[in-house]
């Protein structure tokens, strides 16, 4: 498993952090694969979803 860099504080604007936790197709990598703690995974998931809403991250690779 590739090692991930996770700072103590981050939010939906830290795209370099969040991009480590999405696949090429834009899916969120599940906690059992990403290897971070459950609390961290919850925060990552929420942040990615907010970033998607603000068009900072894609929902999928099939956007027109």
């Amino acid at each position: 498993m590739k090692s991930v860099k996770l700072p103590k504080k981050f939010n939906h604007t830290n795209l370099d952090v969040l991009k480590q936790f999405i696949t090429e197709t834009g899916k969120i990598i599940p906690g059992r694969v990403s290897g971070v703690t459950a609390a961290q995974q919850r925060k990552i998931t929420q942040s990615i979803k907010v970033a998607r809403f603000l068009a900072l991250l894609p929902y999928t690779d099939q956007h027109k």
């Binding site: 604007t13 830290n14 795209l15 370099d16 907010v50 603000l54 900072l56 894609p58 956007h63």
Partner: protein
Amino acid sequence: MNNYELTLIVKQDLESRFDIFKESFDKSLSEMGFQIAHVENIGKRFLAYPIQKNNKGLYIIYQLIGSPSSVSDLENKLKYDNSLLRYLLQRVDSHSLSNSFLTQDTVEANKRAEAKLANKAKQDALEAQAKKSAVKDDAADAFQSPKNDQSSTKDDLEESAQFDEIDNDEEHSSQETEKED
């Protein structure tokens, strides 16, 4: 009093009138009773996916302090603002008073885009030069070069013909195996 974070994506058409828009927006925020703790003007960014057929948007992040009762006023204003592509109003525990990663990212992206453009311009100039010199060379070699050109085209044709034969062979063999099955 609560802390709020308001992110706006403004339509790209407003870029020329952006300062006016921002001033009037700041004004209406203070009229509604919000204190602006920090504003981060990120500027134009590519959207990760098109929103209402817009590929770019202008991002601003406001850090606000205000009472919960004025939030509904603000929501009402945002809802019917045609110049916004999207907005996000969040309650936060503490404000981030420094610029977010987005500003840095956008600056870098813009730099990359500029470098790309500059590179392209350079290449175009080089190509144009090369073409010019090529035209000159052609004029000079017009009496000598035609033989070479013909021989090269012949070679190309032969090669492609060989490839065609190989393809045909493969097809035949695959058909045969199918029959055997």
